[in-house]
């Protein structure tokens, strides 16, 4: 069991844009309306830089910015963990199409190629906030959020450094979408630290468990559909516990494991 302190949250999902609105929906103060996602234009990326990025990178920067701005910690002092199911499916599609064998000179875009690495969002983020601190990008398919959380908690507690955790995935274009369906894009970010700092929201007690148990679901069927519609949205059960002011949730962890997270509000 490891304990970390939560300092800021960023969310971007269908009908759940921004933590204040997401919190209101999850705590049932506000009705859920599944709306199409607004266009992503994170201000932390300079316009010239932003033009070189697609939604996969923009989504990560959007939620990271919200979480960091909320807690007032100097972003350049944060290490980061970025977690994804599969990386950028739009770029994978574009490049796999460009390198088809009927292309004698495959027309791969150099910008798309360097954006294709799974740590591209991390690279853009570290640049945007001018941070020399370490960054780790991990993948975990449907368990990506839980896998990222474990890496982040290990870094916070063993290196004793505050961390920005970002988990995000965007819908793939066809034909990959049929092979890896996602209902919508979803991103979540949290700032975690080993000690409570100013702006601390609460604490998370995190442990991996292999005893029998089942993943926590959301009672609202519509919201549970969102939770299952994107690997990063698996975080919604935890976000609900936070919105409710306390609670314990279980997230599926590879293969037969569960990641147990208990949220306690700061007094």
């Amino acid at each position: 069991m490891k304990q970390v302190y939560l300092h800021g949250i960023g969310v971007f999902g269908p009908g759940l844009v921004g933590w204040p609105s997401c919190r209101a929906v999850l705590s049932s103060a506000q009705a859920y309306v599944n709306e199409e996602l607004p266009k992503l234009a994170p201000q932390r990326l300079a316009p010239a830089v932003r033009r070189r990025t697609g939604d996969y990178i923009r989504l990560a920067i959007e939620v990271a910015s919200e979480a960091v701005d909320q807690c007032g910690i100097d972003a350049s002092t944060l290490s980061s963990v970025f977690s994804t199911s599969d990386g950028d499916g739009q770029i994978a599609h574009n490049i796999c199409d460009a390198v088809r064998l009927d292309q004698a000179e495959p027309p791969v875009s150099p910008t798309q190629f360097h954006n294709s690495v799974a740590n591209a969002p991390a690279g853009y983020w570290q640049q945007a906030v001018e941070s020399f601190e370490p960054s780790t990008s991990v993948a975990g398919f449907d368990h990506a959020f839980a896998v990222g959380m474990v890496e982040a908690v290990m870094q916070v507690t063993m290196e004793n450094r505050p961390i920005l955790l970002v988990s995000h995935d965007v819908r793939f274009p066809e034909p990959l979408h049929s092979a890896r369906p996602m209902d919508s894009s979803f991103g979540v970010a949290m700032v975690l630290a080993s000690e409570p700092m100013s702006g601390c929201i609460g604490s998370l007690d995190v442990s991996i468990q292999y005893e029998t148990g089942i993943e926590t679901v959301l009672k609202d069927a519509q919201l549970d559909k969102v939770r299952l519609g994107n690997p990063a949205a698996r975080s919604l059960s935890l976000l609900k516990a936070i919105a409710d002011g306390g609670g314990e949730v279980a997230l599926n962890y590879p293969d037969s494991g569960l990641l147990l997270i208990k949220y306690s509000k700061m007094d």
């Binding site: 994978a92 490049i95 495959p106 290990m154 066809e174």
Partner: protein
């Protein structure tokens, strides 16, 4: 930090299958690079592994079949590694052994193949295509866990060319936290059209065999490799190789997606953090295995970083003239080279390079040298400015 002992390691690359094939090629100065036959559109040399397509996955894991997982299995079957894993699994239990691997492109080649066989009417992927167990970045971690029958914490680290160096840092934290007793770390990256033409589009691929640190260096030769190691807390009861990880250092460049910071400040910070983590003075390092990609900017900035952190007398070389740049597997492949150098009392030079860039100030060695060194520092730097330095040494 406390050191992690290396209980076992194995390496498969263009130099052959297993550590002995690598040692022999390093000492005989025999390159693994050859004209690229994997994709004849790419006019370059590659470090391809022989026989990857002859590997057959077990029937129960057939759904994982793709070049990356075939290469992973080929790698796992060398150097008695399977027996070593069995031993830690029996000693600690499957849930107390983690699997943290690195890759940059996983099994994306399966999608590249499938895109040539889309349904002409519907545009759909072939029925036999299976995304989760091939293209997906986590697929090779899952395949390796099933192949080794391990159930502990798992992740795929994907930070481009530093991926399988950073796995050692993640493993150290899991062990230090008491979450596991041992971790299988490693990396697997295989040839694919994405990297051959993608690096080509950036002008980073050499038409001739790669010549790191040469004044007229002309870019990378892409290689493929699978490498693995078992790491455990020092003092654990099992036999080990006499090798240990003493420190790691991670940093970000905060500079550019595909070009390292020219002054080497990000690279230097990773090296300084590794020294500080290992509690070692710069003069303790007897050799630096460079990232040394033979890109114009990388080698120049890495030379600056080495001179700044370690001074100008520490022997340093890039071994990519032997293996090619194995991308997400570079960290573990060069860890294996470091292990072989430590155990056999020699330092590999810089193969293919005739002359060192005269503007360089660190001591780049071209020829192999005999030397018993205590500690080796291995650098891995990736796109997005992801830097990782590791310090390995012998352990009593």
């Amino acid at each position: 930090m406390f050191p992690l002992v290396i209980t076992a390691f194995t390496t498969t690359s263009a130099l052959g299958r297993g550590a002995e094939a690598m040692r022999s090629a390093l000492q005989a100065r025999q390159t693994g690079l050859a004209p690229c036959t994997f994709d004849t559109r790419a006019r370059t040399y590659t470090g391809a592994v022989d026989g990857v397509d002859d590997v057959h996955l077990p029937e129960a894991l057939a759904v994982f079949n793709c070049r990356n997982n075939r290469l992973a299995q080929l790698g796992l079957e060398q150097d008695g590694f399977m027996d070593s894993v069995r031993s830690v699994r029996e000693r600690y239990g499957a849930r107390r052994v983690g699997v943290i691997l690195g890759t940059s492109t996983a099994g994306i080649h399966e999608t590249e193949i499938a895109y040539n066989h889309l349904d002409p009417v519907s545009g759909k992927l072939p029925a036999e295509y299976h995304f989760e167990t091939t293209h997906n970045l986590f697929a090779t971690s899952q395949f390796v866990r099933r192949y080794l029958d391990l159930q502990g914490p798992a992740a795929m680290v994907s930070t481009a060319c530093s991926s399988s160096a950073k796995v050692f840092a993640s493993a150290w934290r899991l062990i230090a936290a008491g979450e596991v007793d041992a971790v299988v770390v490693g990396g697997v990256d295989s040839l694919c059209y994405n990297t051959l033409h993608g690096f080509g589009s950036l002008g980073l691929v050499s038409e001739t065999p790669t010549r790191p640190c040469a004044p007229d260096r002309s870019g990378i030769s892409i290689g493929e490799a699978a490498g693995f190691a078992i790491v455990e807390r020092a003092g654990s009861v099992g036999n080990h190789t006499g090798l240990a990880l003493y420190g790691y250092g991670e940093s970000s460049d905060a500079y550019h997606m595909s070009t390292p910071r020219p002054d080497g400040a990000g690279a230097a910070l990773a090296m300084e953090r590794a020294l500080s983590c290992a509690d070692l003075k710069p003069d303790a390092i007897g050799y630096v295995n460079m990232h040394g990609t033979a890109s114009e900017v990388n080698d120049a900035m890495e030379d600056k970083a080495i001179s700044r952190v370690l001074g100008t007398n520490t022997p340093a070389s890039s071994t990519k003239g032997w293996t090619g740049h194995t991308l997400g597997a570079a960290g573990i492949t060069e860890a294996a080279i470091s292990f072989i150098a430590l155990k056999n009392g020699f330092l590999p030079g810089t193969l293919n390079t005739q002359q060192v860039d005269p503007t360089f100030t660190s001591r780049i060695i071209l020829e192999n040298e005999s030397a018993e060194v205590s500690y080796i520092l291995s650098n891995s730097f990736g796109f997005g400015g992801s830097n990782c330095s590791l310090i390995f040494g012998m352990h009593e």
